[in-house]
């Protein structure tokens, strides 16, 4: 009875606040935009050089000059502005984005993140992921709890890192973990998906974590 991808996205949307500027990665994070609460205004940033990203265009209205960081055709909003990639990453690196929601291959209990390469496989590149984790104030990871039955929440990442001590919150299909990345207080399980047991989470998690009181 773990959360679906859409339920994970809905849980991630709870991290949004009115007036936030947010960068969403590809995959489940993209779905978060479907769950922005009514009455809340959130501006989406696309790191190739756009703030105020609108939905996909209607068929026939695609504009090759108007794409997001996933190279998908998107649209403008009344709030939209365009800028160079240097200005875009100045915005990211300078800490102006409130929240980044992204996928991951592995997260360690100290907030280390690996999501860009698997040694031995074709390396595609890190794109903007290293800049986002290093620059954005709050980083939320949304991912499946395990990959092929193996834990992705680890004592220490085994894959090459995207960043060290960068993840604040991990949302998986089984639950939600907070990470005290700055203070070194480690990882805490703060929510459990409906119908999931603490034992089930313990079995699927390699990283050490505390369990919040009340769970």
């Amino acid at each position: 009875m773990a959360w679906t991808r859409d339920q994970m996205a809905a849980r991630a949307a709870i991290e949004l606040r009115d007036g936030f500027y947010v960068n969403l990665g590809i995959g489940i994070p993209t779905l978060v935009s479907n769950h922005i609460p009514a009455g809340m205004t959130v501006q989406l940033q696309s790191e190739n050089g756009m703030l105020g990203m609108g939905p996909f265009p209607y068929e026939g209205e695609e504009d090759a000059d108007l794409i997001n960081a996933g190279k998908q055709t998107v649209t403008e909003l009344p709030t939209t502005s365009f800028f160079s990639s240097a200005d875009s990453f100045a915005m990211i690196r300078g800490g102006h984005i409130n929240l980044s929601i992204m996928g991951a291959m592995q997260v360690a209990g100290n907030g280390d993140l690996a999501n860009w390469m698997i040694p031995g496989k074709m390396v595609k590149g890190m794109g903007g992921a290293m800049d986002l984790v290093a620059g954005v104030k709050r980083v939320v990871v949304v991912m499946e709890h395990t990959a092929k039955g193996k834990p992705k929440l680890l004592k220490s990442c085994t894959l090459p890192l995207t960043g060290t001590r960068v993840v604040d919150l991990v949302i998986t299909d089984l639950g939600v973990f907070e990470i005290d990345k700055a203070g070194g207080g480690g990882m805490t399980l703060v929510e459990v998906a409906d119908g999931v047991t603490l034992e089930q989470i313990a079995e699927s998690t390699e990283a050490a974590y505390s369990v919040a009181s009340g769970l």
């Binding site: 696309s46 790191e47 190739n48 050089g49 756009m50 939905p55 996909f56 265009p57 209607y58 068929e59 026939g60 209205e61 695609e62 504009d63 090759a64 000059d65 108007l66 794409i67 997001n68 996933g70 190279k71 998908q72 055709t73 998107v74 403008e76 365009f82 800028f83 160079s84 990639s85 240097a86 875009s88 990453f89 100045a90 990211i92 690196r93 280390d112 074709m122 390396v123 595609k124 590149g125 890190m126 794109g127 903007g128 992921a129 290293m130 800049d131 290093a134 620059g135 090459p160 890192l161 995207t162 960043g163 060290t164």
Partner: protein, 235 residues
């Protein structure tokens, strides 16, 4: 008055291309790529290029054209994932890739054009990107030193340009083009609309003409879409 306008891409690149040179090529994915100029570099036969470009095109489009002709020795890029031929040449060891985080790449190019030989960034600290580079603490946080990038020639795509070389980009086709225009010994631009000086609003010029040495009118840009995503119309 010196004339910056050339009749076509091959003419605009004449005398600029040499084996083993470093080339910057604008664009993100297939968006805002200097297609005509890439084709002219490909047909020139110049070899052993180091190409600085965020991506490597897709098979047969963009820098993919230069992969078919095996002209590229090394790429400096942040993401090269959408290209089978690239993957093959990379795995075969025919192409070397210097992976650079996208924001670091953008800033390194800006720095190169701005006379800044090095700067510090948090991006990549504690990762393979920082290996062999100086890491230093400022105000309690760790930063890695990255170097400015310059090229022999930059090729860029703009929406509008005037004969003075002033350029305006359109929407997300801006991306890496403005920085690259500043960071090469010679910059060549292709523009969809070429106008006379005075027709562009001087407040709106994104690349001042000082950065553009040669320019061509290229009204027939193909404008490829990699991921054609749409939504249904409401009934």
């Amino acid at each position: 008055m010196t004339n910056k306008v050339y009749p076509d891409a091959s003419a605009a690149l004449d005398g600029l291309l040499n084996d083993s040179m470093t080339l910057m090529s604008g664009g993100f994915g297939l968006c805002g790529i200097p297609e005509a100029l890439i084709a002219a570099v490909a047909s020139s036969g110049v070899k052993n290029l180091t190409v600085i470009s965020n991506n490597a095109g897709v098979d047969g489009i963009g820098l993919g054209v230069m992969l078919e002709t095996r002209q590229i020795h090394k790429m400096v890029s942040s993401y090269v994932g959408e290209n089978k031929l690239f993957a093959k040449q990379f795995l075969d060891g025919d192409i070397v890739v210097e992976f650079t985080p996208q924001g670091t790449l953008a800033e390194r190019i800006r720095a190169g054009g701005a006379g800044i030989p090095a700067f510090f960034t948090r991006t990549g600290v504690g990762t393979t990107v920082a290996e062999g580079k100086e890491v230093r603490e400022f105000d309690g946080a760790q930063y890695v030193m990255e170097r400015g990038l310059v090229a022999d020639v930059a090729i860029v795509h703009a929406w509008k340009g005037d004969t003075e070389g002033n350029l305006i980009y359109r929407k997300t086709a801006r991306n890496f083009n403005p920085m690259m225009a500043t960071a090469a010994k010679v910059t060549v631009a292709e523009v969809e609309e070429l106008v006379e000086p005075g027709e562009l609003d001087p407040d709106q010029i994104m690349t001042p003409g000082i950065f553009v040495d040669r320019i061509i009118h290229y009204p027939d840009a193909s404008k490829h879409i990699e991921q054609r995503t749409t939504r249904p119309r409401e009934a």
